[in-house]
């Protein structure tokens, strides 16, 4: 129940996988339009990512908000760093900054998609 256990789990997740999306539902069956929008962007870019469904675990759902000082879900992490939520991911995708960030971090994608 301690925050530390949840934070440790979050650190594990974002430390072990290049691109992690904390979301409601799964990449195949998102349970929220905002989560679905981020999945769509990542899929369009051909980025391999891990979706973590916060609806499966109330302590994670609360913990991820405290971890990032960010009160909403989805939350996207690249190489352990918090990138943003749905608005930011969409804006960065539209401006090309997201593609640049992924390239800078050495994350493979299908840029021609």
């Amino acid at each position: 129940m301690s925050d530390n256990a949840v934070f440790d789990r979050i650190r594990d997740e974002i430390g072990n996988t290049d691109v992690v999306l904390f979301m409601k539902g799964t990449p195949v069956f998102p349970q929220c339009g905002f989560s679905a929008a981020v999945v769509q962007v990542l899929s369009h870019l051909g980025v391999k990512f891990k979706g973590v469904d916060v609806l499966q675990d109330p302590s994670l759902r609360q913990g991820i908000k405290e971890f990032a000082s960010w009160p909403t879900i989805p939350q996207l992490y690249v190489k352990g760093e918090f990138v943003g939520g749905c608005d930011i991911v969409r804006e960065m995708y539209q401006s090309g900054e997201l593609q640049q960030l992924l390239a800078d971090k050495g994350v493979a994608g299908n840029q021609a998609a």
Partner: protein, 90 residues
């Protein structure tokens, strides 16, 4: 304007003295979605332009807004889309 929207508007005006502010209730666009309530005022979009955001990154800007609206987000507001700008930004 509903009570929640009025409350958020007042807090944002007090905190940022924005040159542009729109608190838009989009609850109707999310009919039946998670968190949706018949009474409305669960899904919002906020557009805000203020000098306080100049020179700040995207994440920091949104955190500044979230902080002011923390009670609303912990309470009745299920979803909040943000467009945060500094004056002069397209």
């Amino acid at each position: 304007m509903g009570q929640v929207a009025e409350g958020m508007t007042a807090k944002l005006v007090a905190a940022f003295a924005p040159e542009h502010l729109a608190v838009i209730d989009e609850t109707n666009q999310h009919h039946g979605h998670a968190g949706w309530k018949e009474s409305g005022e669960t899904h919002f979009k906020v557009e805000i332009t203020a000098a306080a955001f100049a020179g700040k990154g995207r994440v920091e800007r949104q955190r500044m807004v979230y902080q002011i609206l923390a009670a609303d987000l912990a309470g009745p507001v299920h979803a909040l889309a943000l467009v945060v700008k500094a004056p002069g930004e397209a």
